[in-house]
C-alpha cells in the first residue's frame, strides 16, 4: 500500500513504534511530509498505540491471591475439571517438592519436633509476600501510612484482633509504608510494610489459625531473604527482609513486644 520512494511499510511500522535510528527516522519523516495519506495512517497507528497502552497499563498489578496461583489453591471458574485438577495437582506436587527439598530442607531435618504444617507454611508465605510486594514501587500496599488508624481497624477486624496496633519500628529506623490484606494459610491475614531511609524494605505478616501452637522465635533463610517467625496462641507472626539477621531479630522482638498477646 505504501510503496512510494525508499520507505517500506515495515519501516512505517518501525517508525510508529519508535524502533528506527535517527537517520532512518529522518528519512521516514521526509517521506511522510510528502505523503499525507501515509502520514495520516501512521498518526492513526500512533494514536492506537497510546490508547492501547493506556487501556492495559493498569492491569499490570499483583493480587493477594497470586501465591495461590503457584500453589494451586485458587478456585477455578472454568470447565474441564479433570484436566485442571491433574495440572493443579502436578503443580502442587512440584512446588511442594521444590519448597521442601530446597529452601526448607534443612528446617525439616534439623527440627523434626516442631509442628511442620503450620510452622512451615508461615515463613514460606511470609517470604513470598515479601518477594511480591516489597518490590512493588507504586502499589506496595493497599492502605498507606497516612491512614494508619483505618489500616489498624480494618485489618484488626478481618483478623478478629481487638485493638490491633501497627508496630512502631521508628526507633530502628524503619517507618511504616502501609499495609494490605492477604491470605495466610487460606485465611485473612495482614501484611505491614516498612522501609528505611535507603528504601530497604521489610514486611511483618500476621495470620490466624486455630490449630496454631505457640513456638519460640524461629528463623528461616532462603537465598538473601531472611524470615523471623513465631506463633503466639492462634496468631502467627513473621518478619521478613533482606537485612542482617541481627537487625531482623531486633525487629522481631520489638514486634513481639508491641503486638497484643
Amino acid at each position: 500500500m505504501t510503496e512510494a520512494g525508499s520507505v517500506s511499510e515495515a519501516e512505517l511500522h518501525a517508525y510508529a513504534d519508535g524502533f528506527l535510528d535517527e537517520a532512518d527516522r529522518a528519512r521516514v519523516q521526509n517521506f511522510l511530509a510528502e505523503n499525507p495519506d501515509a502520514a495520516q495512517m501512521v498518526a492513526d497507528w500512533q494514536e492506537q498505540n497510546d490508547e492501547l497502552r493506556a487501556v492495559f497499563a493498569g492491569h499490570e498489578r499483583s493480587k493477594p491471591t497470586d501465591i495461590q496461583l503457584l500453589t494451586g489453591g485458587l478456585a477455578r471458574t472454568g470447565i474441564w475439571p479433570s484436566r485442571r485438577l491433574a495440572l493443579a495437582a502436578a503443580a502442587v506436587l512440584i512446588f511442594a517438592a521444590g519448597a521442601l527439598g530446597g529452601h526448607y530442607g534443612p528446617l525439616l531435618f534439623e527440627r523434626p519436633d516442631i509442628q511442620l504444617a503450620e510452622a512451615e507454611i508461615l515463613p514460606r508465605e511470609a517470604r513470598n509476600a515479601f518477594l511480591v510486594y516489597a518490590s512493588e514501587v507504586r502499589h506496595p500496599v493497599e492502605v498507606f501510612a497516612n491512614e494508619e488508624t483505618h489500616l489498624a481497624n480494618w485489618l484488626g477486624k478481618r483478623l478478629s484482633i481487638a485493638n490491633l496496633k501497627v508496630p512502631n519500628l521508628q526507633p530502628m529506623g524503619f517507618k511504616l509504608v502501609g499495609g494490605r490484606l492477604l491470605p495466610v494459610g487460606g485465611k485473612p491475614g495482614a501484611l505491614f510494610m516498612y522501609e528505611d531511609q535507603t528504601g530497604q524494605r521489610l514486611t511483618v505478616l500476621v495470620g490466624r489459625n486455630k490449630e496454631n501452637r505457640s513456638t519460640s522465635f524461629r528463623f528461616a533463610s532462603a537465598s538473601t531473604v531472611e524470615t523471623f517467625y513465631w506463633i503466639d496462641g492462634e496468631l502467627g507472626y513473621a518478619v521478613t527482609g533482606e537485612i542482617s539477621r541481627d537487625m531482623l531479630r531486633r525487629v522481631a522482638e520489638e514486634c513481639y513486644r508491641q503486638f497484643p498477646s
Binding site: A14, V55, K63, L69, L70, G78, I94, E195, S223
Partner: protein, 186 residues
Amino acid sequence: MSQSPDQSTSGTAREAQAPAPLSFETQILALLPSLRRYSRSLTRSDTESEDLLQDCVEKALVSRGQWRGANFKSWTYRIMTNLHLNARRSIARRPSVGIEEAESLAASTSADDPLEKNRLVQALETLPKDARAVLMLVVVEGYAYQEVADMLEIPVGTVMSRLSRARQALREKMREENVIPLRRPR
C-alpha cells in the same frame, strides 16, 4: 534481581557476591503483574484473563523441565500466547457478554477519552487472535519485531504481516463507526 524497591539506590555489599539463583516459583511470582497485563490484553474480560493467567502458570510449572535457562519472560509469554491461540475458550466458555464485562473493560485507567477507548476495545474483539497477540506484544509489552519472531518461532515477515493486519483492521473499524472523528492534535 534485588527485592528492594529501588534497584538503583539499593547497592549493598551483597551485590558484589554472585547472586543466588532465584527459584522458579519466585521468578514466576515476579513476572505475574506483567503477565496479567498481557493476559488481559489478549482476552475479553478480567475473568477470562485470570483463567488464562492461571493456565499459563500451571503450564509453566509442569513444563519447567523444558526451560533451558534462556529468557524466562519470553518463555512464559510464549506459553501464554500458545495457550491462548490454541484454546477455544473465548467462544466455548463465554457465550455472552455479562455484567462483569461492562465493568472490566478499560475500567482501571483514567481515560482521556473513555468513549474512544471503549470503541477501541470493541474493535480489538474483531481482530484475529494471532494478529492481536502480535500487536499487544509490540505495543503494550514493548517487544521488538525480531524478539516477537523468536518468541513465537515465526518468521519476522509473519510478525510484520500480522501487525499490519491488526493495525489496518483497527483503523478501518474505528473509522467506519467514527463519522465525525474528533482528533486531538499530536
